[in-house]
């Protein structure tokens, strides 16, 4: 029932957090990790992957509809 003052809410960005978690697990806890661990990459590659994850979290937080209080 739609009542006055009712606004349809989205998942509050929770879906994006779950997607980020899946991406983090893909990077650091999946066969993909075995691949990059054995790919003879430069020493800074793990840092790049880690940095990529942090950048995505930063983007997610910047678009997340934050509340004033936790």
């Amino acid at each position: 029932m739609e009542t006055p003052g009712t606004e349809p809410k989205s998942g509050g960005g929770l879906d994006r957090v779950i997607l980020l978690l899946l991406f983090a697990l893909f990077l650091f806890a999946s066969p993909f990790m075995s691949w990059w661990a054995n790919a003879e990459l430069a020493w800074y590659w793990p840092f790049l992957l880690w940095g990529l994850l942090i950048a995505l979290v930063a983007i997610e937080r910047s678009v997340r509809p934050g509340s004033d209080d936790a």
């Binding site: 606004e7 806890a29 661990a37 003879e40 940095g51 509340s67 936790a70």
Partner: protein, 984 residues
Amino acid sequence: MTLELWQLFGVAVAYLAILFLLAWLAERGYLPEAIARHPLTCTLSLGVYATSWTFYGSVGFAHDSGFNFLTIYIGVTIAFLLAPILLDPILRLVREYQLTSVADLFAFRYPGRLTGLVVTLFMLIGILPYLSLQIHALTQSVEVLTREPAHDLLALVFCAMLIVFAILFGARHISPREKHSGLVVAIAFESAVKLIALLAVGAFAIFGVFGGFGAMDEWAQRNPEALGNLFEPISQGPWLALTLLAFAAGFLLPRQFHMAFTENLDPQGLRTAGWLFPAFLLALNLPIVPILWAGLAMDIPGDPDFFVLSITLDHAPAWLPVLTFIGGISAASAMMIVSTIALAAMCLNHLILPARFLSPRPEPHLYRWILWGKRALIALIILAGYGFYRVIVHHEGLVQLGLVSFVAVAQLLPGVAGVLFWSRATRAGFIAGLLAGALVWFVMLVLPLIADSAALSGDLPLSALLDPVSGDIWTAATFWTLALNTGFFVVGSLLTQPTEGEQRAAAACTEQRVTPLAGRVEATSPGDFERNLSRLLGATAARTEVRKALDELGMSRHELRPAELRLLRERIERNLSGLVGPVLAQVIVDDRLRLAHRSHVALADGIRFMEERLADSRDALRGAMAQLQSLQRYHRDVLQELPIGVCSVAPDGEIVLWNRAMEELSGVSRQEAAGKPLQSLPAPWNEVLARFARASERRRQKEPIPSQEHAERRVNLHKAWIANPRQGDAQDSGSLVLLVEDRTDVETLEAELRHSERLASIGRFAAGLAHEVGNPLTGIDSLAQNLPYDDTPKAREAASKAIREQTARISAIVESLLAFAHSGRKQSSTREAVNLHELVEEVIRLIRLGQKEKNVRFYNETSTTTEVQGDAQQLGQVFVNLLSNALDASGPEQAVGVRERSTGDEVIIDIIDEGSGLDPDHIEQAFDPFFTTKPVGWGTGLGLSLSHAIVSDHGGTITLAPNQPHGTIATVRLPYSPSRGGDA
């Protein structure tokens, strides 16, 4: 380059002095508040995570286990990535329920003294090796720099300074609401120093040792095993286990919990830290590989744990080893200070205070006792760490000692799942799981440490038994501790039923519902609160706590409303939770501020507080919760805006709802009324509403409300009971809803209408009146003309008598008319015993005026003794209307009369005519306003409608029926006068 011990000592003292100064400046407000609250400060304060292990040990870890060292930070990154579903809810709980430590959190969710006790003891045992690790790292770093064994005195002095700092800046306030901004700023500063020092050493490794990035790459290509040693262990080592351990440690380590939640100055800071803190950790780890390779390239002998220092000794600028040493002190001191403060709070709340409160004697100086207790504990814990450092022979690397603590902390993970997600979890399950995990942890990791065996290298027979394939102790320990812990937790929870307290705590943790406050506090005033609490807390603390809670709630010290006192009790419990922990707070409040033995728990009870909480809540309510809130607000708004006064009363007599119409009608605002019993409302509403609420009748018409400002008001009152679905009979446990309908304006209009109708009737009588008055006047005139010629006294007397008779006749007519046309437009009617016969006679006398030439015969067959209860004027109007209609319908020489019948309780009066009769189709509509069958100009159509309203108002009825063979019978039923003057 070699530094002298006294130089290092001086540097350490100078650095700690700067730290003191900074903390003091922040605490005193000399540093702008914005700096302490800045998200960057919050992020850097979380950098307490990076201890000596990170600062020195990461290089050794990378040397032994390659990129596995990154797991310790990637795990934290994942924990902070999940901040919206992991950290934010914990922060909400900590702030809302004044929890001060990780033990408080679990003691809140799994209520009982045992929970806090087990968690505290486990954390204490788990963290002590970690504390000793910091002291060990400091003395080792001194040995590296001075190239001679470190003096034990150095460690002792270092510990003493940390004790002083932790006491001065970490145990300054007793309430968790008052944050230690000095501590936050100092720890953030320490993190910045750590980062700068490590980046400086990293830069020296790249540019000073190798000569740039290109040269370092060339070295790496010449030494492919160096790169291989970094990558290969990833797929062989305990990557996943370590990531999981770090994930737990990221927010459950006592020091992390303390900085992220307890000392959190601004929730926004934690949100930013979600990405900024992992970025800080990334920056902190970037130099590790260059430093390791520089150490290898320089072929430095000794423990790789201290490559950070040793590569700077010979070729770096003189300030770099000093800066590195300071960085190491930063890492060690920050960890020790914050961990100790957090552990001290846990020990105080869950080990010391419960024992203290077992004593029946109140503590007269509770605050001082708590403050000094915490300070003594800080000293004891740091000294215990020092003792551990002295006892344990440190054969192991820095990382191993740290990981022992990490596995301990990870044992709290299943419990956290119960806090945040699984409301079925019970205390028995949590404690069983934790003990099982702790036992395995102790056997696998601590016993070998104490025995100084070689277990940590993976040679222990038990570890080989548990993990026969890899022999990796960390994976085995993580797997077995958590598997057993989780198994016992789940099975234990499912085998036991959650208690009421556990269910309530679980609901509060998982935000399943906003729990309404139920029950009434036995203490009836804030003064009673103080007296009751003082028996346990002492007079000063009791007074301070009650007044603080009153101030926070904006309540008066003379507050007496039960609902407000219940809210005060809840606030005091929360504040006490910050002081003595949630378990003791609940014990104290349950014992000293008892709820009434039998108190109704109704649906409406607490609705007001739920509404206020929802309105005040700035949390983002999601999904169904938000829908529910909108729906609830919509319904509340409907009630608020109804043009009829609505007042809802909870079973304990408190007013829950007082809408806008009620405010306007009564002049009593919602704030004044809400939460009060009806009897406490301002007069006259207290009397009117309370009396009606007690009465058995469901409605009351035209209740007079005396008013000083207006003329008397009239209201209709209605009431209904709303049942509580959880309880039985509505009248016993439900809420009462009172509707108050203002009839004053309607009454005024009705009075105007009656007056107009009377005037209209008088107009109809005007012609007859002229005739009736004119005839006697003519007679009087003739008599007066003849009077001078009547010469005998007898004749004059006869003439005089005739004149008096004629004037009496005129007077009677005029009086009847005046009585009927009474000029007062009174709004309220006066009920009195009215003689029916006299009333009908009077009316017939008037009606005769309007009969013109019809010569209709009137008769009055009512008993001369019958009396009805009513307003004579209004009832006269009814008979005028009915007899006028009868007269209008009658032809010449026909009869119109009034006959009385009696039944047991009422008088039945028939107004009978033999006229044209009423069309049966019109009987239904006859009482509708403006319905008339008379020609235009003959009737307003309001007569019967008004008569119907008046008779109804008198508790009677009026009906129309055909008369046989001709005419109509109008039947009026009226109640007898209570004096029962009638002959019925």
